[in-house]
């Protein structure tokens, strides 16, 4: 352990645990080699599971029990079959399943390896007692703690992550398109009319007196919406999108709130929007901020998906 890593404390724990893990595997390999046993530390989880099972076991079962991914178990099994330690047979009830078991050669290998494992256990437990506390217990407790309260979540709670609504900036042009295309492709499809707005937002929206807003969280753009100016103080709230991973966190509400406030400060005469009845969450949000469903399509709507027509009414 170098001074630097130690000084980094908990931040270098990941690296240190990996180094320890590698070290343990190497220790095992040294013993196997010393006694000429054709075994490797990394084989242990898989081969010992197979050897302990009374019946042949399937690839996915091994993967679940050992915590490895199933492709890894699959390839490792192939390797050990090639080496002659394992054999496989198709399951009679389920032709997909490949049931693995030890060959005679595999059993012989286990017999050779068993004394190593036994002595390893003895040495390891002695070592663990020597080190003053039960390391294995400590690991177990730590595993549980991490599972229960993932550090990422705890850190996120501590991080300053107020959503901030900011005005359009050319460097966010791509985000405007990305956030809209994300939900469009999910619920409907991107129409040619849409694409034009994404390609030329400055010309099509801003130059006509409209506005584009972004929701910024830390350093990411996680939401957007726009006010289109139809002329004569009539505005449309449109192109609202919130990144999937940040939904349900009030980002949409802040965008609508800000847009309405902006509309008011611009002394607009009318603010409407068009949406679809399937987007109930959005409709609830709009209602909450003063939009009222007009009960019919907007006359002459350009979007196929625009079925609900809402207008902001003074409370």
């Amino acid at each position: 352990m170098t001074d630097f890593l130690r000084a980094q404390g908990v931040l270098s724990l990941g690296s240190r645990l990996r180094a320890l893990s590698d070290q343990l595997f190497k220790e095992g390999d040294l013993v196997y080699k010393r006694h000429g046993i054709p075994m490797h530390g990394r084989w242990f989880p898989v081969i010992s599971l197979v050897s302990l099972s009374e019946k042949p076991v399937s690839v996915t079962y091994i993967a679940q029990q050992t915590g490895f991914s199933h492709p890894y178990v699959s390839t490792q099994a192939h390797k050990m079959i090639k080496l002659g330690y394992l054999q496989d047979e198709r399951c009679s009830q389920d032709e997909r399943r490949r049931l693995l078991s030890l060959t005679t050669k595999g059993k012989a290998l286990i017999e050779q390896a068993k004394p190593v494992w036994d002595n390893f256990k003895k040495v390891a437990y002695a070592s663990v007692e020597n080190s003053g506390s039960d390391f294995l217990d400590a690991v177990e407790r730590f595993e549980k703690e991490i599972e229960l309260r993932p550090w990422s979540q705890e850190v996120n709670k501590l991080m300053h992550d107020e959503v901030e609504i900011i005005d359009y900036d050319p460097k966010y042009k791509k985000d405007f398109a990305r956030l809209n295309i994300e939900w469009l492709e999910k619920y409907f499809s991107v129409e040619a009319v849409d694409q034009e707005y994404f390609d030329f937002p400055e010309k099509k929206i801003l130059q006509k007196g409209g506005r584009i807003f972004f929701a910024k969280l830390s350093n990411q753009i996680v939401g957007t919406c726009a006010l289109f100016h139809e002329g004569d103080g009539v505005y449309e709230l449109a192109k609202m999108g919130v990144s999937q991973s940040y939904q349900g966190k009030g980002v949409g509400a802040k965008l609508v709130e800000h847009s309405v406030a902006c509309f008011k400060s611009m002394q607009g005469s009318e603010l409407f929007l068009e949406t679809h009845s399937s987007l109930q969450t959005a409709i609830r949000l709009y209602k909450k901020h003063g939009f009222v469903d007009q009960g019919h399509r907007k006359p002459g709507s350009v979007y196929a998906r625009s079925e609900v027509y809402m207008v902001l009414e003074a409370k």
Copy 2:
């Protein structure tokens, strides 16, 4: 943690530590991603070391401090230079050295990442306290214990590893050659006369009334030697070789002992050997078992390397 791994106890510790390590890196990545910071957990050791150093640092220095191999640091540095976070300059005093430092972009990255690291520390230390014992301390003690008393050595002590001397068997023919070539190439070189013995040991040694012995440890052949029958009860002790990794463990002594005993049981009239004065360890061994240096070359010796001539004399 699956039941199987838990049940394996200390034998699955390697796998569990690796999983934990991966988990921690992932936790970090989740936070970085959540806050749109273009950083990865795996970068931490290298980039934080560079950022903490007042002067630019070299690749090997980073490797030493972080515990990574230098090629890994080298490639990782290249990657981060490509991404614009690091810059390098040749050291003026030592043209081989590549001195790494943060670019402006890199400094900006650190500034972004710092709050994450700070909060990570807070969370992690709280978590560690929650888990009932100081996990970091436990890891540190464990690292020291492993370093001080490597499990492989302790296990080897416990393993039954009596050296056993066995007779020639065709399946060990390759070992006979391997063990001899190993030391021949180290001290001298393999002569044509030697090669013939390795290719046809049965014909050249056994069929003439000679013997070949092997030292077997667990399942490995770690040493060999032969008795050549010169005719009329005259034998030569030759072709002795012990695998480098098993020297100094009395393997040679057992081989000589066994050979002498065999010579006596065959009622041989004379046992001699030829060697080189540079091989003092071997000469001491022969003396200990009753061989006496004759002080001159054996008349008509076939080997260039045979300079010392020893004969077994009754004590």
